[in-house]
C-alpha cells in the first residue's frame, strides 16, 4: 500500500514535472538553436570571407606569377662552364697553349649570356666570357640587336661571331660538341668575331629546314700564338645550313682584307720582320761593296692581304650513331702564315649515358700559299748564293736560317683522337680524351715550336650549362 502510494506520488510528481522539463528543454533548445544558427551564420560568413581571401590570394599569386613570368620572358640568363685539365708528352713545345705540365687555364672557360626581349620582334643578346680557372680576361664575346623583319627573316647588328665552322658560334661552349676542344687542325682561324650586320632567312624545302645568312663587317683579334693583332676589313660572308631529321649540311664562305699590326718583338713574326730588315741592310752593304744591284728591301707583306675561307660540313646524329666531318680551305694572298687545307672526320657511338668517339684530322699548307713563300725563299737563296761566293759565311748562315724559318711555315699535321664522354646529368658532361699528333714533316704543325716525331695530348673536362 505504502509502496503503491509512493509509486503514485512518484508518477504524479514525474507527470507534473514533465511539462515543466519539456518547456525548459524547449526553451534551451530554442536558445541553442538560435546560437547554432548564429554560429552557422557566422561560420558561413567566415567561410565566405575565407573564400574571398583565398580568391584574393590566388589572384595576387597569379598576378605575381604573371609578373614574374613576364619578367622571365623578357630577361633570360643562361650560362656555361668548362673546367679543363690537359697536358702533352711533347717536352717544351706547346699546342693551343698546352705543354708538358698540367694546364688548367688554356681551355677552361665560363660564360654568361643575357637575352633581353624588348618586344615580340626586337631583342638584345650579349655574352660575357671569362677564361682560365681564375676567370681572368673577361670579354664581351658578342653583343647584338636582333630585329625580326618577318616571321622568317631577322636582321642582327652589333658584335657577331664569324660563322666559319660548324661549331664556331658555340666554340666556347664545351657542352655543345663531343670533344674537349674541336680539332685544332681545322679550328685555327685567329679572327672569330666582327662588328657588323647579319641577315638570316629561314625556309623549308623538300623537308629540309634551311637557314641562309649573309653578313658584313670588320673584325679585330689578337693572335696569342704569333703575338700580333689581326684586323679583318671589309669582311663579308655567307652560310647555308640545312637540317632534315638527323642530318645537317652546312656550307660557309667568307672573304676579307687582312692587316697584321702590333707585332710583338721576340714573336716569330717579330723575329722574321727584324731578320728581313737586317738582310736588307746586309744586301745594301753587299751591293755597295761588290757593285751589285741585289734587292735591298725585304719585308713581310702585312697589309691588305686577301683572306678567303671556305668550309663544308656534314653531321649525322640519330642518338645512337654520330658522324661529323668538316673540310676547310684557307687562302691568304702573299702571306707567309700557314694557310691551306684542313679537315676531320668523327665517328661516335652512344651507349646509354656514354659516348665513345674517334676523330681523324689533318692539316697541310697548300701550293698557292707555299708558292708565295717560295718567292721569298728564292730571292733569299739568290742573295745567299752571292754571300757564299763572297766568303761571307756568317751572313750566309744567318740568311740560311731565315730561309729555313720561312720554309717551316710549309706545314702538315695529322692527329687521331679517342674520346669518352659521360652524361652525369642533363646539364653536365665529363669528357676524357687522348690525341696523338704526328706527320709534321720537319714543320711545327699547330705547335709553337718544333715538336718531336709524335706528341700525345691528354685532356679531361667537365662541361656544364645552366
Amino acid at each position: 500500500m505504502i509502496t503503491r502510494k509512493i509509486s503514485s506520488l512518484l508518477v504524479c510528481s514525474w507527470v507534473s514535472v514533465l511539462p515543466v522539463c519539456t518547456l525548459a528543454d524547449t526553451a534551451a533548445a530554442t536558445a541553442n538553436g538560435a546560437i547554432d544558427a548564429n554560429r552557422a551564420e557566422r561560420i558561413k560568413a567566415l567561410e565566405t570571407r575565407i573564400n574571398q581571401l583565398e580568391g584574393q590570394i590566388e589572384k595576387n599569386k597569379q598576378e605575381n606569377e604573371s609578373d614574374l613570368k613576364q619578367y622571365s620572358d623578357a630577361f633570360k640568363l643562361n650560362g656555361f662552364i668548362s673546367a679543363v685539365a690537359a697536358k702533352t708528352d711533347g717536352g717544351r713545345t706547346e699546342i693551343a697553349g698546352i705543354g708538358d705540365t698540367l694546364n688548367t687555364n688554356a681551355d677552361s672557360v665560363m660564360g654568361l649570356q643575357l637575352a633581353i626581349r624588348a618586344s615580340e620582334n626586337l631583342s638584345f643578346t650579349t655574352q660575357f666570357v671569362s677564361r682560365g680557372v681564375e676567370l681572368h680576361d673577361t670579354k664581351t664575346e658578342w653583343a647584338f640587336l636582333t630585329y625580326k623583319i618577318a616571321p622568317d627573316d631577322a636582321v642582327q647588328a652589333g658584335r657577331l661571331r664569324i660563322p666559319h665552322y660548324l661549331f664556331s658560334e658555340s666554340l666556347e661552349v664545351g657542352f655543345s660538341y663531343p670533344w674537349v676542344r674541336p680539332p685544332v687542325e681545322v679550328y685555327a682561324v685567329p679572327i672569330s668575331s666582327l662588328e657588323g650586320f647579319q641577315w638570316t632567312h629561314q625556309f623549308a624545302a623538300s623537308g629540309w629546314q634551311t637557314d641562309l645568312s649573309a653578313y658584313f663587317g670588320r673584325g679585330l683579334a689578337h693572335d696569342d700564338v704569333n703575338k700580333d693583332d689581326f684586323i679583318l676589313n671589309r669582311a663579308w660572308g655567307s652560310v647555308l645550313s640545312s637540317t632534315k631529321n638527323d642530318w645537317q649540311l652546312r656550307l660557309s664562305y667568307s672573304v676579307g682584307k687582312i692587316d697584321v699590326e702590333n707585332i710583338e718583338t721576340g714573336s716569330s713574326l717579330g723575329n722574321l720582320t727584324e731578320a728581313f730588315i737586317q738582310i736588307g741592310e746586309a744586301a745594301q752593304a753587299f751591293n755597295a761593296a761588290h757593285g751589285l744591284d741585289l734587292r735591298t728591301e725585304y719585308s713581310l707583306p702585312m697589309n691588305n692581304l686577301l683572306g678567303e675561307y671556305t668550309n663544308a660540313a656534314v653531321s649525322y646524329d640519330n642518338s645512337d650513331w654520330l658522324f661529323t666531318a668538316e673540310l676547310a680551305h684557307l687562302t691568304v694572298s702573299k702571306a707567309v702564315v700557314p694557310a691551306g687545307n684542313s679537315g676531320y672526320v668523327l665517328f661516335g657511338k652512344h651507349i646509354g649515358k656514354w659516348l665513345t668517339h674517334i676523330t681523324f684530322a689533318k692539316f697541310y699548307t697548300d701550293y698557292k700559299n707555299d708558292k708565295s713563300r717560295a718567292a721569298f725563299t728564292d730571292e733569299l737563296s739568290t742573295f745567299n748564293g752571292y754571300l757564299i761566293g763572297a766568303g761571307e759565311v756568317e751572313q750566309a748562315g744567318y740568311v740560311q736560317q731565315v730561309i729555313k724559318s720561312i720554309k717551316l711555315e710549309e706545314q702538315t699535321q695529322e692527329s687521331v683522337t679517342l674520346g669518352l664522354n659521360y652524361d652525369v646529368s642533363n646539364n653536365l658532361k665529363l669528357k676524357w680524351e687522348a690525341t696523338q699528333f704526328q706527320g709534321f714533316h720537319d714543320g711545327t704543325g699547330r705547335f709553337n715550336a718544333l715538336p718531336g716525331k709524335r706528341v700525345a695530348l691528354y685532356s679531361f673536362s667537365m662541361d656544364a650549362i645552366f
Partner: protein, 137 residues
C-alpha cells in the same frame, strides 16, 4: 613466391615502360592532328606553321619522367642530347628552348591561355581542359 614477385616486378616495370605520353593543345586549337615531323621540328625550334599561317609554339616540361619519355618516344633523344642541341642555339643567340612547365598540370594550365601552343602530358592526365592531338607518322 619468388616467381610471383618476379612477375609482379616485371609487370610494374612494364607498366612504367608503357607510360604513354600524348600531345595536347588548347581546347580551341584549330587543328586536331600533327605529323611526327611537325613535333620534331617544333621542339627543335624550327619554324612550324599552322594551316592558318600562325606560328606554332612548343611547351616543354622540367626534368621528369614524362619529359624523358617524350624525348625518347617523339624525338629519339636523351635529356642530355636534347640539351646539347639547344646549347648550340641558345649560346649563339639563335634561339631559346621551349618554355618549361613544371608538370602535366602546369602544361594544362599554360595551354589554356595559349591557343597557338602544344605540349605533352602523361595520357592519364588528359582532361576536358585540353584537346588531345593525334600524331600521324
Amino acid at each position: 613466391m619468388k616467381k610471383i614477385l618476379f612477375v609482379a616486378v616485371s609487370f610494374l616495370f612494364s607498366c612504367i615502360a608503357q607510360a604513354q605520353v600524348v600531345i595536347v593543345a588548347n581546347k580551341s586549337a584549330p587543328f586536331d592532328a600533327l605529323s611526327k615531323e611537325d613535333i620534331v621540328s617544333l621542339y627543335h625550334g624550327r619554324v612550324t606553321k599552322l594551316p592558318n599561317g600562325k606560328l606554332l609554339k612548343a611547351l616543354d616540361q622540367s626534368d621528369n619522367a614524362t619529359r624523358a619519355e617524350f624525348l625518347k618516344t617523339y624525338l629519339g633523344k636523351s635529356g642530355t642530347q636534347f640539351n646539347t642541341y639547344w646549347s648550340r642555339l641558345t649560346f649563339t643567340g639563335k634561339g631559346l628552348p621551349p618554355e618549361n612547365a613544371r608538370n602535366d598540370a602546369g602544361v594544362i594550365s599554360a595551354l589554356q591561355s595559349k591557343p597557338d601552343a602544344v605540349g605533352y602530358i602523361d595520357a592519364k592526365s588528359v582532361s576536358q581542359d585540353v584537346k588531345q592531338i593525334q600524331v600521324t607518322p
